[in-house]
């Protein structure tokens, strides 16, 4: 498991295979537990990370993730940055529509992940890749 994780430092991890998606989930859970997120919020942020990591792998052709703790003075949280250099998203509004998929999934990953976290920022350019930053704050 992911014991011995230094939480002061952002944790980077490559996303190249399905096993890496599992590692991302474990890493996010470790950090979420450390910043004392509730069980529901842990599950939500882990699930969001799972969706976005799989998108990075399937649509972005693999990439990297960086998990860090966030602190806005009042609350602590988990911040996760997914980055890939894949084809990018041509129509972001369409991609964020429930039920829209180009890959045979349920079409809820990206839109669902946005609902599972508190802050969701996506930057994408066709041919350059996609960078998604999400944050979940403790209550």
């Amino acid at each position: 498991m992911t014991t011995g994780v230094d939480l002061g430092q952002p944790q980077a991890q490559a996303i190249r295979s399905d096993e890496d998606v599992v590692r991302v989930r474990q890493l996010v859970r470790t950090v979420a537990v450390a910043v004392k997120l509730s069980l529901v919020d842990q599950t939500k942020v882990v699930t969001a990370a799972s969706e976005l990591a799989r998108n990075t792998l399937v649509y972005g052709g693999g990439g990297t993730v960086e998990v860090s703790t966030a602190d806005n003075g009042r609350r602590k949280g988990v911040r996760i940055v997914f980055a890939d250099t894949g084809p990018g998203i041509a129509d972001l509004d369409l991609a964020l529509t429930d039920g829209y998929t180009t890959g045979g999934g349920l079409g809820l990953g990206l839109s669902g992940a946005r609902r599972l976290v508190d802050e969701f920022d996506i930057r994408t350019a066709v041919g350059e890749g996609t960078r998604i930053t999400v944050t979940k704050w403790s209550r």
Partner: protein, 286 residues
């Protein structure tokens, strides 16, 4: 550094002339690092195979280990590292078995003091280095395939389909439900439904730490497949945090029955199939 044709034949000559001495010392050197975990006879046989492989290769004028002349030698080396990996020796212990040849060669060539002998030794040693690295790589490949085998065995073990009641089977899912596992689960469940003629199946996800869209999709597909075969599926083990996550994600389970616990699911199924459950009987008696 590659061997020249003359060096190769000198190596063949050296190994042939001192056959007894080479195998003896080589075996002794390896035995030292193995600390008695392999029998002397077994080691000796392996060394003789290696020795023969090297002679064959060098008589044919081996240049380096990648060349065609070394194919038999490569086979012997892979055989050696496969055996070591399966017997649980470390990668270092395996590679040292090959590197030990360097000391033996040095002993043999020490009395030749001309510069040619030094060049020969460096070339021979380079070949031994290649052999050692090759052993190392085959060792890693063997270990990787061992791990893959074990993962597959674990997959088989971790997806049991159990009969809970007459006509009711259950699949307790534990851990990550990736595509490979979902496939195994579906196959097992459908086969068990046929074998037992059960009209009800319960999929219990208590042990699944996170239900994302992929997991949900796998479960939904399994339910639809079971329905096509005439069986009703109930999903149980939906904990509060999972329920809230599923709602936020926007996953719809439609008309599929879902329950918080396996016990609830079983009670639900038994009621559907007309079996009197304990709670009802109790109420009637009161």
């Amino acid at each position: 550094m590659a061997l020249s044709a003359e060096q190769s034949s000198r190596l063949a000559g050296l190994l042939t002339r001192h056959e007894e001495q080479v195998t003896q010392r080589w075996t002794e050197a390896i035995a030292g690092s193995m600390r008695g975990r392999l029998s002397q006879a077994e080691l000796r046989r392996q060394v003789q195979d290696l020795h023969r492989g090297m002679i064959v290769a060098s008589e044919q004028g081996v240049i380096d280990l990648d060349s065609e002349q070394a194919s038999e030698l490569r086979a012997v080396l892979s055989e050696l590292s496969r055996g070591r990996a399966r017997q649980g020796f470390s990668a270092t212990e395996t590679a040292v078995s090959v590197f030990a040849l360097k000391d033996v060669l040095l002993d043999l060539m020490e009395d030749q003091s001309d510069g040619g002998a030094l060049r020969d030794y460096v070339a021979f040693a380079a070949l031994v280095d290649q052999m050692g690295l090759f052993t190392f790589e085959s060792y890693v490949r063997t270990r990787e395939s061992l791990i893959a085998d074990q993962a597959e065995q674990l997959l088989e073990l971790s997806t049991p389909v159990v009969k809970l009641w007459e006509g009711v089977v259950a699949v307790p899912l534990v851990g990550t439900l990736d595509s490979a596992r979902a496939q195994v689960v579906m196959e097992r469940l459908l086969q068990t439904l046929v074998d037992t003629g059960s009209p009800y199946a319960i999929i219990d996800i208590t042990g699944v730490p996170a239900v994302d869209t992929q997991v949900a999709q796998h479960i939904l597909k399994t339910v639809v497949a079971a329905r096509l075969m005439g069986a009703d599926c109930i999903i149980s083990g939906i904990r509060p945090q999972i329920a809230q996550t599923i709602v936020a994600l926007g996953i719809e389970f439609g008309d599929i029955a879902t329950k918080a616990s396996l016990a609830d699911a079983l009670r639900h199924v038994l009621r559907l199939s007309g079996v009197e459950t304990g709670r009802r009987q109790h109420r009637r008696e009161a």
